[in-house]
């Protein structure tokens, strides 16, 4: 018999291997997609102003005359060396382009994800504790409406209110928020001033993304909290005279850890989707905006490269959530 610790390490190692295989398949999917798309991959991969001679040369470089298996082997070799090709519009390696955009998205998405979990969990638990009251009803309506609203539309509304309307009503300066960009263009700020400028620019996009995320988290938390609160041992805890705060703070939260870990992995794709629109609306140079602009520019290496990064984020989040589950819920320790 293996000791539980060893068994768990083997389980985690297995999950890592499975994840790596899955990720390889996702990357291969991008290889397949370029080939099932109508037309010659060479025409896709060439800038619009390329000549016929360029096409012939590219076809030779890509080895498009070779059999598909040889092409796949060649593509694999390049991927393993971290070579994602060269961006058409910028002329730089795709990896370098992605390296510039990724931190922006990680900061925006990370801050929003954190906020949406803090707010959403609190709201969901308050709702479940006050089930059936007007507060519960109102918060449910707010979260359902937020979940049904497109991020870009809310973003436009927020821009209209916090820039134009705020200056129209000559509101104090703190209420007038910058609508576009991460920093004030041209302002050569350093240290704290730079940080303050960045924070001011973050308020609208982060709040928007967090609010939409929090709506989803709150709905999910409310449902799973109600499931827990209906359990027999909660009745026992209350019957033995435990104060409600202890019931919610200790018994409920301890039993919701697993749900929250699962929710984290589920929430990440939503944050990615939201950031595509939020970055576009607010002009943040992150992965989402990069993807949209590279599609507009028909910059296929960048499109496929960003898709690969997004997939990596989601897959790693799933792996982390899966490895955390036994910690979160002892009942899942085999």
């Amino acid at each position: 018999m293996l000791s539980p610790a060893v068994a768990r390490s083997i389980g985690v190692a297995g999950a890592v291997v499975r994840t790596a295989v899955l990720y390889w398949c996702v990357l291969s999917l991008t290889f397949v997609l370029l080939r099932v798309a109508p037309g010659d991959p060479a025409t896709f991969l060439l800038p619009p102003d390329a000549s016929a001679a360029d096409a012939v040369r590219l076809r030779a470089t890509l080895g498009l005359e070779q059999p598909v298996t040889a092409q796949y082997a060649r593509w694999t070799r390049r991927m393993l060396h971290g070579d994602l090709g060269t961006s058409f519009s910028e002329g730089r390696p795709v990896v370098a382009v992605l390296r510039d955009a990724l931190p922006v998205s990680l900061a925006l998405g990370g801050a929003s994800l954190l906020l949406s979990f803090l707010v959403g969990t609190t709201v969901g638990i308050v709702q479940s504790a006050r089930r059936g009251t007007y507060a519960d009803f109102t918060l449910t309506i707010i979260s359902v409406v937020l979940a049904a609203s497109p991020a870009y539309w809310l973003g436009l509304g927020a821009i209209a209110v916090f820039t134009y309307v705020a200056s129209l009503l000559s509101l104090p300066l703190w209420a007038r928020l910058p609508a576009v960009g991460m920093t004030t263009p041209g302002a050569d700020l350093h240290g704290l001033a730079h940080l303050a400028d960045l924070l001011r620019h973050s308020v609208l996009p982060v709040t928007l993304l967090a609010a939409i995320g929090a709506a989803g988290v709150a709905r999910y938390v409310r449902t799973s909290a109600l499931d827990v609160l209906d359990a027999d041992w909660v009745r026992t805890a209350r019957a033995k005279g435990l104060p409600e705060r202890a019931v919610l703070g200790r018994h409920l939260l301890a039993n919701m850890r697993a749900s929250l870990v699962t929710l984290f992995a589920l929430a990440l794709p939503g944050t990615v989707a939201g950031s595509v629109f939020v970055e576009t609306i607010f002009g943040w140079p992150g992965m989402g905006r990069l993807m949209v602009t590279s599609i507009m520019a028909r910059d296929y290496p960048v499109v496929l490269g960003s898709a690969a990064v997004f997939a990596l984020l989601v897959i790693v989040a799933n792996l982390v959530a899966e490895s955390l589950l036994p910690w979160a819920d002892p009942r899942l320790r085999g």
Partner: protein, 290 residues
């Protein structure tokens, strides 16, 4: 039952939402058909453009929701866009649901290698955020209605497939399935007449909830300029058209946005209520809950 106190409301939110959707469907069919003017024709822009809601243009024509920058009536265009959105939502989610049901039934019924391959494919597609798959799809094919529908279906069947697979496996283990097989029914007949009808409930609910999602995704792509191309109206590209008029003519972006939110909201309320009503039944027979 989950509710600690009885519901006092005589009319459920779900039936209100369903009524709203029916009303919307009627409106998107009737309003453009009965409209006096062609909603995509542009004439006498100066006299008609940016009339506020309930206002009259220089020709004395009343515009209930106002006009856009080219003087086109917003209500008529919104309803025309609604045709497209509802169509994309219902067909996109419906065909996804159908494909997902067939894949899930096949995987759960046949098990073995086929099951592993199909579910592996589902995991593969679920590893990419759906919006990313959609963006890659419209990047490689040309943007338009067909591309959107194909990509929505290609990226939307996995959830339903997993649900149906789990249900089919659960239902297959029940005595009446053994009985049907023992009585000599062909496997195909057992699957389609005995197993699937008992396993399909969650798929219907998930498909209903998918309609709103499909509508949101279509409008998002159209907003980015990667979906329905102007002059054909879509709620997404109408909002994009009002983007730089937020101050001077906020109604141009506001009206289609409200229509979008109301429609998505209504479909999700209908789906939620359907799920809540079937949840009790599913729990009783020990099936997997949504």
């Amino acid at each position: 039952m989950r509710e600690s106190r009885p519901r006092l409301r005589a009319v459920s939110a779900g039936s209100v939402a369903l009524a709203a959707l029916v009303l919307l469907a009627l409106a998107v069919i009737l309003v453009p058909a009965l409209a006096a003017s062609d909603p995509s024709r542009i004439d006498d822009v100066l006299a008609r453009r940016l009339v506020p809601p309930l206002g009259r243009d220089a020709h004395g024509t009343m515009h209930l929701l106002g006009t856009d920058r080219f003087g086109r009536d917003l209500l008529v265009r919104m309803m025309l866009a609604g045709r497209l959105s509802l169509l994309v939502g219902v067909i996109g989610a419906g065909v996804s649901g159908l494909v997902g049901t067939l894949v899930g039934a096949l995987a759960g019924w046949r098990r073995g290698v086929l099951d592993r391959v199909l579910m592996g494919l589902a995991d593969l597609l679920l590893a990419l955020p759906r919006i990313v798959l959609l963006l890659v799809g419209v990047a490689l094919w040309s943007p338009g209605l067909t591309t959107i529908l194909v990509v929505l279906v290609a990226t939307g069947w996995m959830g339903v497939a997993r649900l149906v697979r789990a249900e089919v496996i659960a239902v297959s283990a029940r005595p009446f399935v053994t009985a049907a097989t023992a009585l000599g029914a062909a496997p195909r007949r057992v699957l389609f007449r005995h197993v699937l009808p008992n396993a399909i409930g969650p798929a219907f609910v998930a498909t209903t909830l998918g309609v709103g999602n499909a509508i949101l995704l279509e409008s998002g792509l159209s907003f980015l300029g990667l979906g329905i191309q102007p002059p054909a109206p879509s709620w997404g590209n109408m909002i994009a058209g009002g983007r730089d008029l937020l101050v001077t003519a906020p109604w141009v972006a506001l009206a289609p946005g409200l229509a979008l939110v109301a429609t998505v909201l209504a479909t999700s309320v209908v789906g939620d209520e359907w799920r809540d009503r079937t949840r009790g039944a599913a729990a009783v027979r020990g099936g997997r809950l949504l």
